[in-house]
Symmetry: C2
Subunit: 193 residues, 2 copies
Amino acid sequence: MATVDATTETGKAAAPPAPAGNFSGADLSLRALLFAATLSGLVLLVTAKQTEIIPIALLPRLTFGPNDAKFQDSPALIYLLVALCVTCLYSLLTAVSSLRFVAGSVSTTKKLFLLLVLDVLYAAIMASATGSAGGVAWIGLKGNSHTRWNKICNIYGKFCRHIGGSAVVSLIASIILVLLAILNAYSLYHRSR
Amino acid sequence: MATVDATTETGKAAAPPAPAGNFSGADLSLRALLFAATLSGLVLLVTAKQTEIIPIALLPRLTFGPNDAKFQDSPALIYLLVALCVTCLYSLLTAVSSLRFVAGSVSTTKKLFLLLVLDVLYAAIMASATGSAGGVAWIGLKGNSHTRWNKICNIYGKFCRHIGGSAVVSLIASIILVLLAILNAYSLYHRSR
């Protein structure tokens, strides 16, 4: 037991001067959380499909027909799907890179800067996708009497719950990306003092 | 003339060691651009108002009535207005702070870090507002046959041009904010090397 302790102590001492070492643990856990959030958002979005028999007003008589609600019907939701896909992939790739940070093999300032730039870009992409999906989902939920856009969530309840859940998870992913950017910025600031 | 030259030379030499001095000029011009973009977006959004005499289907007969289109009718556009307002104010405040950077009186690393954090936050807010307004504007432009949301831009042409212009200018403002964050990150990275 004593030898093991000694080894870890030596390992600690032999590590390069890394005041940002304690941040890379937080970085890794945030990236794992981002992966979980984007993956669950993707699953919620892809499984949002509902078929309902609804009345179709065909004058002079009223007929009933099956009607599908699926995310492919809205460009905003397709954009959300693409944004969630690329962010999910990004979180996976950077988590691997973050793991190497924790292992202490690579820990350059340049890498921190590049990660910061990518985090800012992905945060902007996720925020805009969340905004557009949220804007459309709000119309689906509440409708808009001024433009006579009817609400659809009273008919497609399950579909709306899926889209709403996906939008909330995307909002969480955007917040995580902003936090990651701030963490990397702080890490860079810590090194430049 | 010679004395003036000498004074400026001395002024230059007496300035504190500021390798980031050349970035603060770019920072200031980007912030001025951001102010111009958000202000024009605000003006476009607030002046988006149009009254049209349109047919209202009141069975059994068709009547015609005046109908207003204004940005207050959509929560997404109200959110865009708020985001443009706060970003406009932010750009003005930070441009003043950036001016003091250029003058060389304050130029600490801490200030760079704080500006970077604020830039990232505002970029996320502007991107989400642009996304939600863009999503709603797209429905107004193209409609959605699946949910039977009719397009309104064939009736309210001038209103739609204003909203579209405001959304484009907001997109430009979001891109400027991302660029500002990257510039500040680079400045911080430059100091930490």
